[in-house]
Symmetry: C2
Subunit: 490 residues, 2 copies
């Protein structure tokens, strides 16, 4: 692969000057179109040590309008980063629509270096690369232009550059022991990188190899790749505006996981009080142990309006130290959130280790309300199932215990509760025209919920359907499930 | 002070039930008005250990619509927090307009505890309290309703509660060694708290003392305080909409700090090359040392349009490791930023220790463009001078080296540059109708800049006026000033 960019490509000064002036203009013009097109630009500047990544980045910053660019050059992770899934640091660095981010060092660095120094097996490397592919594929699907540049020089050239830097007292500091350690493993690095590039050079986020021996050639080739990617996006036919999806088909025979629940399940007041108190006691103790062990708990609550999510959540949180938990109520996104992938607003809230986070509605809005109301295209909510699974998998891999509750009631019970809300003064704020509108789409929401449970309930991130006509039964089932989850996973 | 809430206030069950139902309704109604009124609500739940702060917070959360409330219960600071000014953690927890935040533990905890355990002298405590007062005063001026509750119980009552918690196996964990350590120092704690409350009970953010021996009394009194504060705000006559300020008066005799600069200063190309390279070399070395020592560098660039801020910044950043610096270009705020105090968007970007942050325009927009264009009321930009000084003082106290550059050109030079921009294709994006509009207000901006320099140039956070008609002179002066600042402060 890399021999293709070891051909001695060179650009003469005069030719460079002419071409650079033109390119610079065109790049700037393309950048100006980002905000209007609502496109975020992600540029990865990767490659061999001493190939000139910093030099290239500086040129790029000089040619672009620097006000729309952010350079990310990750140093060692902070404790806030290392207490979260490894991708959290990348999620939080993503540029909003209309702006650009240049990554000097990226999500490729750790897997490649890890494999070179044998901290990862080949299979582990491949798994990491697959994760990267899914991540980039999501970025592109969410509208980003992703440009991946790999600056390449030969081993001999690298040695020459290190030596020449070392000879000058002014630049000697730039060459570290680490650099020579890498140099020694150049061939291994080359082989691992080739594998990484091959696996992750996709149609939507291809790698551009850049011969970096001649600086002028490197600059022009790299910038051209950015420009071409932007133009390709701008020239692409506009996607049609999303339309409300037709309501999902009803289950044949009227059977589905929600309809097969036993809605008559209930607890007497005495049973309720006893079992709830017992579960709360266990939760109180177990969450303290959880915190000590640096584990986290994430609970997701979904369900029809008036299904009793808030009440069930309050019974849980009462059992916990107030400093430990956070309840996040998912409402309409802000404009910063809208300018990022739909999961970004949940990423940004991912808590540190040792915390409990309870979502009153969640990222599942993508495949429920956004699907039903046509807030996103069919292709968008369809890919969301696997994106959500990937997100949850990362949470779990980072030590989170995850449970998802669907509070299920019957349409008759909902009607009763809506009417009660309208009559009880301090509950009136909970009921409005939107609730009645949603209710009219009951069958659609039910079918979407069933599909969601089918596609996103996994062994580690299971959906727990909760019969919630009897509030006591529902609250106890939720609390006991949480206590059980903590016990079995700690 | 506290004897006033050691009177044995009590509420009977029946009376409580009736009153609670009414209060709850009214509280909810008041909360519903927050978004429309664009008011953020900040509630501090402070007080004696075991007084029931968590219980009260839970009740508050239950009575309010939880979707609009965030509880902050700060644990030990993370390294990301401890590498920044101490107030950073509070800044980043402030609620946006329309929402509420409850602080269980707040900016009062550290100063009070610090004084009780003699880590702070009385004078240091007072200085902290003064800082708090300025902070709260800014919050209120920016539109927040700040409610400060102090839940009080006597020493005997505290002891009784600890003992009773310890007797029950289920609740024993709640009483820590720390609690008994605090109990021993109850009297000291009481005296220090009294001092803190006295110093910080202002008209705009008064303390409400709550006798917390009887839980029902505590609940009603605390909630009433929140409700009263909200109502007082909603009933207050609306502030008149800000009007563009009349252009600041010209300096008498035509003399001012900007006019007295020598705009003929210039460097030959050779001098420029030599001195710039030398300064860049020093900056490269010194910023590495800075990072090692965990210090930070913050540079602010302001000046008329086309004064050469971008060019000067690029000459600086070229000297630095790309992983070290960030250039932040200040443009229009996002809606999340607009929903917070005007400094919030700068607070949220405050870097960790060991970084260089360069602002191409900055928080000084408040007293320049926002003043001139009438984006804020006169009272707002007038108080901004001291708020900005407070902000910068905190940065410096946390180890930041701060320098502020005003790049000064003459109106004639600006005209020349505007015309040049209009003629040079790759510079055209830098010039638009807004630049010409601003130019028409030259005298106003100049006078505002002079006032700003006068009011915000301090020994540790000095303004450096830079003669910038000759770009070479300006760039070298900036680079040499930065090198000098690093050398003298490291």
């Amino acid at each position: 692969m890399f021999e293709a960019v070891e051909v001695g490509a060179k650009v003469e000064k005069a030719a460079y000057k002419k071409e650079a002036e033109k390119l610079r203009m065109e790049l700037l013009t393309a950048q100006k179109r980002l905000p209007e097109a609502k496109v975020p630009l992600v540029v990865l500047v990767s490659g061999v040590e001493a190939a000139g990544k910093t030099t290239f980045t500086n040129t790029l910053l000089e040619w672009l309008d620097a006000r729309g660019v952010q350079v990310h050059a990750p140093w060692t992770p902070t404790d806030e980063e290392s207490e979260r899934p490894p991708f959290w640091r990348w999620w939080r660095s993503l540029p909003p629509a209309g702006r650009a981010a240049v990554f000097l060092g990226s999500w490729y660095s750790d897997p490649i270096v890890g494999r070179v120094f044998k901290e990862l097996s080949e299979a582990e490397l491949d798994a990491e690369l697959e994760r990267i592919e899914r991540f980039e594929s999501m970025l592109v699907a969410e509208g980003a232009v992703v440009v991946k540049l790999w600056l390449h020089i030969t081993k001999a050239e690298q040695r020459k550059r290190f030596k020449s830097l070392e000879e000058d007292a002014e630049t000697r500091w730039r060459v570290t022991e680490q650099d020579w350690k890498f140099h020694k493993r150049y061939d291994k690095f080359r082989a691992v990188s080739e594998r990484a590039l091959r696996h992750t050079s996709t149609g939507q986020a291809p790698w551009t190899l850049v011969e970096a021996t001649d600086k002028r050639h490197m600059t022009l080739t790299g910038v051209r790749a950015v420009l071409d990617a932007l133009r390709a996006r701008f020239d692409a036919p506009a996607a049609p505006a999303p339309k409300p999806a037709p309501p999902p088909r009803k289950a044949s025979g009227g059977k589905n996981i929600l309809r097969s629940l036993d809605y008559t399940l209930k607890l007497s007041e005495k049973e309720y009080d006893g079992r709830l108190a017992e579960a709360q006691g266990r939760i109180g103790k177990l969450t303290r142990r959880m915190r000590k062990e640096g584990r986290s708990l994430t609970l997701v609550f979904e369900g029809a309006d008036a299904a009793g999510k808030g009440g069930a959540i309050r019974r849980l949180t009462r059992a916990m130290d107030a400093r430990l938990y956070r309840v996040i109520s998912t409402a309409a996104p802000t404009d910063e959130e809208r300018a990022h992938p739909y999961l970004w607003r949940f990423w940004r809230e991912v808590p540190r280790a040792g915390r409990v986070t309870v979502y009153d509605r969640s990222w599942y809005g993508r495949v429920l309300v956004e699907r039903l109301e046509g807030f996103c295209a069919a292709a968008d909510w369809k890919r969301a199932y696997s994106e959500i699974c990937e997100f949850e998998e990362q949470l779990v891999a980072a030590g989170t215990i995850l449970r998802k509750f669907w509070l299920a009631i019957t349409p008759e019970e909902q009607l009763k509760r809506f009417k009660d809300r309208e009559l009880t003064p301090y509950k009136q704020y909970k009921i409005g025209p939107e609730d009645w509108r949603n209710r009219a789409k009951w069958d659609g929401y039910e079918a979407a919920a069933c599909e969601m449970i089918e596609k996103t309930s996994t062994a580690e991130c299971p959906w727990v359907p909760v019969e919630a006509v009897d509030k006591g039964w529902a609250r106890v089932k939720v609390a006991e499930t949480v206590a059980e989850a903590l016990k079995s996973e700690l």
